[in-house]
Amino acid sequence: MFQILRKELKALVKDRRAMMLGLLMPIILISVFSLAFGGMGKESDNKTDLLVSDEDNSTTSKNVLQGLDSVKALAITRMPSDSAIDFVKKGKFSAVLILHKGFSDSVKNLRHLPWELKYDAAQSIQMQMMMQYIASSLFGNVGKTMTERMVMKRTQSQFAGMDSMTQLIAMAQVKKSMESNSGAIDDMQKNVMKIQSSPVEKQQDNAGIVQAVAGTAVMMLMFSLTAMGGRLLEEKENGTLKRLLCSPLTTGGILSGKMMASISFAVIQLLIMFSFSSTVFGLVLVPKLAAVLLLIIATAFACSSFGMFLAAIVKSRDQLQSLSTLAILSMSVIGGSMVPSFLMPSWMQSVGHVSINYWSIQGFFDIFQRQLPITDPVFLEKVGVLILFGLVLSTAAFRLFRKNVMSMA
């Protein structure tokens, strides 16, 4: 028994890279998950960008916006409404709060307030959290002013003709009565102060479904394609690679063939996943088919190259299995495949830009939530980044494979 134990441990130690990965993998994954989700709820770490447009440009509107500046969870940028809406449409910012002309007058006259929140359709889940921050600041600020005006108005109408001292006492009574009977203030907040919020583009698909489908599809695709990259290592192990290298095929031809097979498989896998999601979850595919297909091809290329690259830097299938689990889970976490990126600290969201998952998921949000056309530069940027990922990783993979061809044979 001890001989078996010793032999097994010796075999493990011999494959140092696999052993290191096996030991380091859980530590690295714990670190990545902790960094990604440990910051949840810490306002200072997780600022949400909010654009504001002050069309009223009054003292009241300026005071309201100053109040928002002090909310730690929000990073406020002032911008004219047209540009702001355009930025939100393209997903560059989450939302814009517009204070329309007449805001100050409405506060004074206790009329319905002309303010609205327009948000990125792809971030409707995030909006629910953002609304809490905005509401608590705005209602605290404007609400106080409007309550005082309401008290004064009621006092003046109910106690008209009385001397100023009596009116002051009456005002205090009215205020106390209103505060004890919160219904009046609630009614004001629900109706007069209600913020109209709507996405900048009409939503056709549920953001949660898009997140779930795109996130899962890209992550699972990476696992499949890494396994396909591993087939080259399998061919090395069973001697068929050597035989292929003896044939008139060139090294480049062999690798290109493998890459094409991987991309074809990836395209089919993604098409099946999205068709299933369309049938079962009602994801609207048909009017956006060309854009979906373009993004699928770009994603397939990037993920295939990623799989080939991982297979090129390892020396055995055991090593590939450990490394791919680590790399894919890490990329999936930071890229937003497992949970939406906005739940992570802002610095982690920036780190997510190195992940294929991020660009692919955002591309699918562009199509399904932001309703961007195939020609929109914002959508094409994501396609371009994915192709760039593919080119860099496949070039590196090809070079590494060529370098290792002799040892493969």
């Binding site: 069973n238 001697g239 068929t240 050597k242 035989r243 292929l244 290298l245 003896c246 044939s247 008139p248 095929l249 002799m406 044979a409």
Partner: protein, 306 residues
């Protein structure tokens, strides 16, 4: 047809091939004989163009492997040491794939695949997955896959490793047939009897060098060994003692002493007396005519073992 001139190959600081030269005329079956690690596979890999020699030159059919790689690969068939087949595929699918890689297609490919499967006796099993075949059957398919493009030169790298005697004989017959049909063959092995049976000439390779080459008779002459006396003792005899006393080449493996003699009639009584004096209990004495094994032993001081 094949000309190898002073080729060398190193892996890091280890020189695997130290300057090998040989030439093989068209239609000859040439054997490369040597123990594991002698440099046979490195030589075959250079001939297969898996990598280039560090120095020296190889020409096949008048074409230099450095400049005419693609052209040479089309006339070259390689039967690797490994069973380099897709085990989940059927034999038929394997043949179609490997034929296709060499540019054979359509009806020609199907006809050739059918011919070859019949030739190796596996046409009836063509639809079975290779993983369900015996070792010998896999070896036959392995060979057939290298012949679909009708190569002019066939490199066989230990093609009978791990096969049963029946399959081994069948493979010998197939190789004989190919050679008879005019194919030039290089056959590497560490089985003496295979090289003796199949090859007209043999190159003995050891430690990265060809230490002798020629026909069996030529090698016998070079080694000056005519007989091989094999003595089985009850206990392991002392190799150094016997060699010192007899003054001729002795090799001991376990309880068996192999003694190379230019004249067994002259040496036999001296050998028996020496063993008796040393107290070795002799169980059996076998006198064999010189063969490749004795030549190899004489030239390298090593025995080839399975």
């Amino acid at each position: 047809m094949i000309k190898v001139e002073n080729i060398t190959k190193s892996y890091g600081k280890t020189q695997a091939v130290k300057g090998i030269s040989f030439s093989i005329p068209t239609g000859e079956c040439y054997g490369l004989l040597g123990p594991n690690g002698a440099g046979k596979s490195t030589t075959i890999n250079m001939l297969s163009m898996l990598f280039q020699p560090d120095s020296g030159q190889i020409t096949i059919n008048g074409m230099d492997i450095r400049t005419s790689t693609a052209d040479i690969k089309r006339i070259l068939g390689v039967v690797p040491q490994e069973i380099a087949l897709y085990e989940k595929f059927t034999a038929w699918d394997n043949l179609l794939f490997w034929g296709g890689i060499y540019g054979v297609s359509g009806k020609e490919l199907h006809t050739k695949a059918e011919e070859l499967l019949k030739w190796v006796g596996l046409f009836d099993r063509r639809k079975d997955a290779v993983k369900d075949y015996s070792g010998g059957m896999k070896r036959r398919v392995n060979m057939a896959c290298s012949l679909l493009h009708s190569p002019k030169v066939l490199l066989l790298d230990e093609p009978t490793v791990g096969v049963d005697p029946q399959s081994r004989n069948l493979i010998f017959e197939l190789i004989h047939q190919l050679n008879k049909d005019g194919m030039t063959i290089i056959y590497t092995t560490h089985y003496m009897e295979e090289a003796e049976k199949l090859c007209r000439r043999v190159g003995i390779i050891d430690s990265g060098l060809i230490i002798a080459q020629g026909t069996l008779d030529e090698l016998k002459l070079q080694s000056k060994v005519n007989d091989m006396i094999v003595i089985d003792c009850a206990h392991t005899p002392d190799e150094k003692f016997l060699a010192g006393k007899l003054g001729i080449d002795v090799s001991v493996h376990e309880n068996t002493a192999t003694i190379l003699s230019s004249d067994s009639k002259k040496d036999l009584s001296k050998i028996v007396n020496t063993c008796t004096e040393a107290g070795y209990e002799i169980n059996r004495i076998d006198i064999q005519k010189a063969n490749l094994e004795s030549v190899f032993l004489k030239m390298t001081g090593k025995q080839l073992r399975d």
